[in-house]
């Protein structure tokens, strides 16, 4: 009994020490957040209740910016819809492609390192270069993709797809383009796959499980922490989509790729309406927070290898 208590005490001290170390390691980031992050964040909260045209002094107007956004701004809702559409499509597709790539590249064949590098490579390409490249590929009249698909169009007797130039396809085009960088999440999945003990597969093999069954019953469940991480990060980053639309489509055609971040940028830079832009930033924060919190409820389905009883 006394030995148990002593063990518990030393475990508590160890945890306390670990906690301290955690804070020490996190302190540069925390200091950065406090000094460089907290002030702009709080300032933007204040500005969201003001009329501020980027010159002069902000004037307090209460909830007028929020009222205007919610009740008399059609583009606000269009941009929010476009962004939600992007998030709900890009996050699951990104997860699926990332996992499939990781499963494909988790084999022991010659030159696997080269393949992994090749799939990761798009992540180090600048977003401007990437957007311009895909602009060429998706160009409806002379782009490579439509040229390759030409026999299919002829077979189905249909007009070539307009991709980013068609308002009903432009959002999908940007999502498809984004899948090119799925190699980023693939690396995380691969790292986790390498961590799965071989014993599980050997035991399954003895029990007669085939490769597919092993993937479904062992690999995927044990990959859930990284899937969950990429899921949450995908949601957060998805709400911030901006640069690709800015470069490729300028929000068009017909505001179909006019995402929330783009509208916020225009409010600030082009309309000189810093007050409303700040209000938009806070609305986005709340929306992202709500959806992220909802997503976090899925945590109960995540299997953490080191934490089972």
């Amino acid at each position: 009994m006394a030995k148990n208590k002593q063990n518990k005490n030393s475990l508590g001290a160890l945890r306390k020490q670990e906690k301290k170390l955690g804070y020490v390691f996190a302190s540069p980031w925390l200091l950065g957040l406090g000094i460089f992050g907290a002030f702009p964040i709080l300032a933007s909260l204040y500005l969201s209740f003001t009329r501020y045209r980027m010159v002069g002094t902000p004037a307090w107007i209460g909830l007028a910016n929020y009222r205007a956004l919610f009740f008399n701004d059609s583009i606000f809702w269009t941009s929010l819809y476009n962004t939600l559409y992007h998030v709900f499509l890009s996050v699951p597709l990104g997860l699926i492609v990332g996992i499939l790539l990781a499963l494909l590249l988790n084999t022991r064949i010659r030159g696997i390192g080269i393949y992994r590098t090749l799939f990761y490579l798009p992540n180090v390409v600048s977003i401007v270069a990437m957007s311009l490249l895909w602009l060429w590929l998706f160009q409806p009249n002379f782009g490579l993709i439509n040229q390759v698909l030409l026999p299919v169009y002829n077979l189905l007797d249909m007009e070539p797809l307009g991709w980013y130039r068609a308002s009903n396809l432009s959002k999908l085009t940007i999502v498809l383009m984004g899948l090119w960088t799925a190699g980023g999440s693939m690396i995380i999945y691969l790292a986790q796959m390498q961590d799965i003990p071989r014993d599980y597969y050997e035991a399954a093999e003895i029990d007669g499980a085939n490769g597919f069954q092993q993937t479904i019953k062992i690999t995927l469940p044990l990959m859930t922490p990284s899937i969950f991480f990429n899921f949450i990060m995908g949601i957060i980053l998805g709400f911030q989509v901006f640069a690709v639309a800015y470069i490729m489509t300028q929000g068009g055609p017909g505001r179909s790729t006019y995402y929330y971040g783009y509208y916020l940028f225009d409010k600030m830079i082009n309309d000189n309406n810093m007050g409303q832009a700040s209000a938009m930033a806070w609305v986005l924060l709340v929306v992202t927070l709500i959806i992220t919190l909802l997503a976090l409820t899925l945590n109960k389905y995540v299997f953490y290898l080191g934490e089972q009883d």
Binding site: F142, I269, D271
Partner: protein, 434 residues
Amino acid sequence: MKKIALITLMLITVFTLAACNREDIGDRIEIEFWHMSPVGSESYSGMRRIVREFNESQEEYFVRGTGINFWDYWDRVNIAIASGNAPDVGYHTLDNVILRASNQALYNISDMIQADIDNDVDTIDTSVFLDNQLEFASYDGDLYALPFSATVRMLYYNLDLFHDAGLTEADVPTNWDELYTVAKQIDDVDGNTINVLGFDPSFGEGWYHQYLWTAGLDFFDEDLNPTLNTDRHLEILEWMYTFNEEYPRSTLDAFGEANEMLGINPFAAGRVGMMIATDGLYETLRPLEGELNYGVAPIPLPDEDGVRVNWGSGFSIELYDNGDAERRDGAWAFLKYIMDYDTQLDLADTIGWLMSNIPAMEAYAEGNEILEAFVNELDYAIDKVYVPYAPNWHAIDWDQFFQQGLSGELTAEQVLQQARNLYIEKRENYEAAN
């Protein structure tokens, strides 16, 4: 020990280099000037020389010029003004001087001119600038900026393509009917491929508001209420949309995009017979002198009742109120230098812009038919009105609808209706917050 010596040596080198970078200005007052001739640009050394010449003539002030790329300039200057760190002298857009002037971000230029007159000191002669530009630089009856550059749009025509179509310079169109007839004679289309397009109203600097102005219309009335709701507005937009209606939109798009994506100017490449553009295109075409036979003419008017008016956008030059009287005086001295006849002439040659000092520009353009035509056209220049509730009314606010009309997703009537609704919505929101 070796390590310490190495680090010390590195630090000395870094500090020496850093020190070398800043000129010794003694006890002169430093003035900050932001321009758009960054390191690496063609105009960098010229601009540096112009600033240096001022500094060499000075015992009291020293101007430190900072060149910023055109595309980065706007964000930087706006944020600098918002945070109270604006340069002492800088460029901005002439059409929204009122925004900064009404928010006490700028010094009153009229007061400074008056003070010079009272003290019997040489000052800026504002009669050398265009009246309409001065109007945009004014707020509440006083000048808060000066026009720095002046730009107008003209119809460029390719004489080689004219000749190929059996036309001469005498056939250069002056009204929309002639424009259509001539354009169709130049068109060279092979099935679904456009080799040469005579003209398209939406190419280059073909703006709906410019066409409206020539028809005596506008986007807004005098009280800044959005209009866009008359039959004539609709007629003009439909004219733009249907000018080349015999060719499928996809063919026109492919033609336009091929030029855009290859980074070629369709006029410079001899792919369009006529195109509306600014004097900037003349600068692009300069290296092709002798290869491309072209001329410029006023933009054709709708008909004989049309109004000869030209969208004359330009930059302003402003003195930002940083609350330091000594720096203000230095900035004013520099402004007088940069706006005088000789410097404006020098600047036009250095930057390649038409400057705002009209006598200087007349001298600059003398003997050059193209530039002379541009300078003459400045008499018809007006800038777009500043609409506080929709400062970007002519760009993204309008363009999204306009493009939908071009692609056929919206009719011209829907485009006008939806754009008008957006302006009304913006106005309501603006008023609610003010």
